[in-house]
Amino acid sequence: MKYEEIQEMLDRYWEGETTLEEERRIKTYFNSGPIDERLRPVSPMFQALREEQSVQLATKVKAVSIRPQMYQWAVAASVALLLAAGWWMFREENTTAPIVDNTPNELPKVVEDQVIETPQKSLVLAEKSDAENPVPRKKSPAKREKPSPTIDPETAQAMAEIKAALALVSSKLDKGRNQAIKGATHLEALDRVPKRKEG
């Protein structure tokens, strides 16, 4: 570049009237190739600017916590689980209470059945080898019937909800973990990028 051309741009530079493009040309002139003797006094200025432009963050950015997003989901899922569990327990209490009020006569039977059932169960287990086979065989259909009434539609629904909540938690954890791995790989790759690239 000719001396006159640079000098003219410099005059405008000091007045703050140059464009970014002109300012880049000035910096390039003073940082590459021979400098006109008449311009040497101001040369350190543009060398300083160019050097300052290449200053880089020397330390690695500490792994920026990847938790926040996972964290939100974990909290949401926990709350969902607690609510579902709470709702289920509440339902349990409610279903037993009406039975006591409306059908007081049937209740003792149920209680008796249960009370009787338990020792028989243990008896069955204890006396498996015994010859009293007909007794447990008769009892076993009764046992199969027992669990089915306990899984009423509401409980089933609650269980389904808990299942769904757990599935959500696990899918989000998986997603979060994949993101974290992806993130870590990116961070490492970025640090290996040649330094001047972003200058």
Partner: protein, 166 residues
């Protein structure tokens, strides 16, 4: 803040944020802390907030400036700190004597810049080192266009006069 947004818009400007923080605090250590804090803060920004951000760079620069000023002002004893670790890069095509002389002059300019009043120093940094437009500088510093131009003019004038007279 999504990973893609962070990766594309924020992470690549970390060196720029670091230079800006270094210009304000004058301390490598503090500037590194500022960048770390700013990146974490941006990363943890709620999605609702990220929708309102038009220019991530300007926003990050503003965060960096505020955080750096907080740090600087909490250390009232320190006024204009010398810029640490900025004269490390040396060209290997010049003789040691030339290098010494050249580096002396170049380092003096750097010190002159660091001794400018805060606003002039930051405007000159954003224009002459980061090559931002006047509009971008005004946004990052929260000042008017006129103030950008006035401060830039004063800063360049001061350096020029010092270079010629010293």
């Amino acid at each position: 803040m999504t990973w893609d947004l962070f990766h594309e818009q924020v992470f690549p400007i970390r060196h720029k944020l670091y230079r800006f923080a270094l210009r304000i605090t004058g301390s490598v250590h503090e500037a590194e802390d500022v960048v770390q804090e700013v990146l974490e803060k941006v990363w943890k920004t709620a999605p609702e907030q990220t929708e309102n951000v038009q220019n991530w760079e300007a926003w990050c620069m503003t965060l960096t400036r505020n955080r750096s000023l907080d740090k600087t002002r909490s250390q009232t004893l320190r006024r204009t700190a010398p810029l640490e670790g900025v004269a490390e890069r040396k060209s290997d095509t010049i003789t040691p004597a030339q290098a010494t002389e050249r580096n002396d002059l170049v380092d003096r300019v750097k010190r002159m810049m660091q001794q400018l009043p805060e606003k002039q120093r930051l405007v000159m940094h954003l224009r002459d080192i980061e090559e931002l437009t006047y509009e971008e500088i005004a946004e990052a510093l929260g000042i008017s266009l006129d103030q950008v131009k006035v401060n830039l003019h004063r800063a360049r004038k001061t350096i020029r006069e010092k270079m010629i007279h010293d």
